[in-house]
């Protein structure tokens, strides 16, 4: 022997699996067998900001279902004792003692020089807030969605007190309540508008992409013309054309229709180009060769594969609609009181001199920006998730 130690003979008792190299873990298997929508959901979940924005928007949209409950006062209730009252801050401690959420009452005096009311916190008047309460104060009663009478609120002011978290406007109406109610209009304008624009875009873009030829050319031209026009002046002109004697609800529908009328070209263009591109894909040819009819190909194969993209781009164009409504109402061309949207509220802030003295009139700006940002992030996340195979 030369000092060489032999390695003991070893045989793995486990049966040989020739597929061990190609085998996949359960996790991988889950990934590979997941449906398209499931993949999208996983992808979407990774986009933190989009998830947060989505949750925020869901909460906002949920709030419009129960605006009456959230808002402490009725939309049109006027507290004539509190004209242009500044926001009442919510405190927890009074003189170092814990009291729970409360607001200080106001000491009101008339400034004879500037001819306006001035308000000062009255530290002796501690007005504890009540929660989940049946309101018995003026402005508490409401008709839930105009149907059921009630006065159950999330938060009520103390007996004989007031609770204006965001101040009051020129007529003494509670800004916070008005913003809560305004969400109902501002948020639905975008949804209804985008639905209309979605239908228009899908139908017109689909026709252009499917039939091609002369239809396609005409549609392309129309889209080009509409897109080459500066939107806002056109919106202004169209909404100025709405008859003055229309009822508020008709005006609301009219405005959403006008918004949709100028928004569909973007979607139609996306539909058309997607249709054209997908028509050449292998799976489409395969379906054709297997004898599928055009209708089946469109609905079964083409539509699902670009629906996600469409939803993403629709989400991205909702904010522009919300903004357009706000802008039009702000200019006084859009919705008119008594319908209250954020734009209508901002209409009161048009005069800079008023805003300089009563800055809380500008508060409706905050929800507008938050909602628009949230839609922007959500749309971004959706767009990334729309193509999970990339």
């Amino acid at each position: 022997m030369t000092g060489r130690t032999d390695i003991p003979h070893y045989v793995n008792p486990a049966p040989f699996d020739p597929h061990s190299v190609t085998a996949i873990t359960p996790e991988q298997e889950r990934y590979y067998t997941a449906s398209q929508w499931q993949l999208m959901w996983w992808r979407f979940k990774r986009h933190r900001l989009a998830v947060v924005s989505g949750a925020f928007l869901l909460a906002m949209y949920f709030s419009i279902l129960i605006s009456e409950f959230i808002a402490p006062y009725d939309l049109h209730h006027r507290n004539t004792q509190m004209l242009f009252a500044p926001p009442q801050a919510i405190h927890l401690f009074h003189d170092g003692d814990f009291v729970g959420p409360f607001v200080y009452g106001y000491k009101k005096s008339l400034d004879m020089v500037k001819m306006r009311w001035t308000y000062e916190e009255d530290r002796t008047k501690v007005q504890s807030l009540r929660f989940f309460c049946i309101g018995d104060y003026p402005g508490a009663a409401y008709e839930f969605w105009g149907l059921i009478e009630g006065s159950f609120h999330f938060a009520c002011p103390a007996d004989g007190g007031s609770f204006h978290m965001m101040g009051t406007d020129r007529l003494g109406r509670d800004m916070f309540s008005r913003i809560v109610y305004g969400a109902r209009i501002s948020l639905t304008v975008g949804l209804i508008g985008i639905t209309l624009s979605f239908v228009l875009g899908l139908a017109i873009g689909g026709a252009a992409g499917y039939y091609g030829g002369i239809t396609d050319t005409i549609v392309q031209r129309i889209i080009e013309i509409i897109r080459s026009f500066p939107e806002l002046p056109l919106w202004m002109a169209l909404s100025a054309a709405l008859p003055v004697n229309w009822s508020p609800i008709l005006v609301y529908l009219g405005i959403t229709f006008i918004l949709a009328l100028l928004d569909w070209p973007g979607l139609a263009r996306a539909v058309r180009s997607k249709l054209l591109a997908l028509r050449e894909e292998d799976f489409c040819t395969a379906a054709q060769l297997m004898g599928a009819r055009p209708k089946r190909i469109i609905y079964r194969h083409l539509l699902p594969s670009f629906m996600s993209h469409l939803i993403a781009s629709a989400t991205l164009s909702i904010p522009s609609m919300i903004l357009a409504e706000t802008a039009l109402s702000f200019l006084g061309l859009g919705l008119r009181p008594p319908i209250t949207s954020w734009g209508v509220l901002l209409n009161e802030a048009q005069n800079i001199n008023v805003v300089a003295i009563y800055p809380w009139l500008m508060l409706p700006v905050v929800p507008v920006i938050l909602v628009v940002l949230a839609f922007q992030f959500l749309g971004d996340g959706l767009r990334d998730a729309a193509d999970p195979y990339k």
């Binding site: 392309q220 031209r221 080009e224 013309i225 897109r227 080459s228 026009f229 500066p230 939107e231 806002l232 002046p233 056109l234 202004m236 002109a237 169209l238 100025a240 054309a241 008859p243 904010p319 903004l323 706000t326 802008a327 702000f330 200019l331 006084g332 061309l333 901002l346 802030a349 048009q350 800079i352 805003v355 300089a356 800055p359 500008m362 700006v365 507008v368 920006i369 628009v372 940002l373 922007q376 992030f377």
Partner: protein, 332 residues
Amino acid sequence: MLRYTVHRLIVMVPTLLAISVMVFVIIQLPPGDYFTTYVDELKSQGENVSADRIEFLKQQYGFDRPPVEQYFVWVFGMLQGDFGYSFEHSLPVADIIGDRILLTFIVSFSTIVFTWVVSFIIGTYSAVYQYSLGDYALSFLGFVGLATPNFLLALVLLWLANVYFGTSIGGLMDPDYLDQPWSWGKMLSVLEHLWIPVVVIGTSGTAGMIRRLRANLLDELHKQYVVTARAKGLHPFKILVKYPLRMALNPFIADIGNLLPQVISGAAIVSVVLSLPTTGPMLLRALQSQDMYLAGSFLMVLALLTVFGTLLSDIALAILDPRIRLGGGAEK
């Protein structure tokens, strides 16, 4: 090149015609006309108007003729520089809008230059220093800029200026220069006031442009020719400026078509908030009082401005990019 330009010019004619029809229909849409509004207004003040006078005015301005005829009169008038008559101001439209169109043009042009300069600097920085703190901060700022509607931004700026400086930042020139002929002083005064509307209107466009430039430049920076250039020992700055940046600049020209309507739209509403003597406030007023020829001319000129801007950008793009030029009249 010539063929392409001619083709584009020919295509423009039907577009403009279609736009003029659209504008005419829109200004005809509201029920009644300026005179019904006018008579109602006078009646509500307790004054009487002789029906003869109104009838005479209506006849003079062709309101009694069928709409189609009115349309042709309007279009042919415009071709000869006659934009019709503003009832509210009792002046020919052409006399009123000239100055305002010029100022709108100045504001829009400056806004686009602002958009280019700012997005060029920030976009390049963000792409070169990707994922740096500065990149994150600027991207976030861009997002907020994209989401903030410009008229609200104008409102907030006005308020801040009022609170902190006690001045009003509205207007486009010193009040002394209003209705004065153009002079050096007026020019300088306009330049002094210009930056606020330019920043306000340009924010969202700039934010969008930054994102596009950043994405484009990032794509280019990861290409092999950059690696090659670096391997050969070229100075990083020279590499950046000489090749990828040039490639990434395409959207600056190509996007004018999208940017211009956006800028003009923005200018319309921002000028109402900031009370600029541009087209916005007057258009708003004209629409409200049904001063149809004034409103129609504004809409038409704004559309013209956009269409011509797009045409210029298309031609510039064709000069820069041979693929488009050689494609003849083919659409992108």
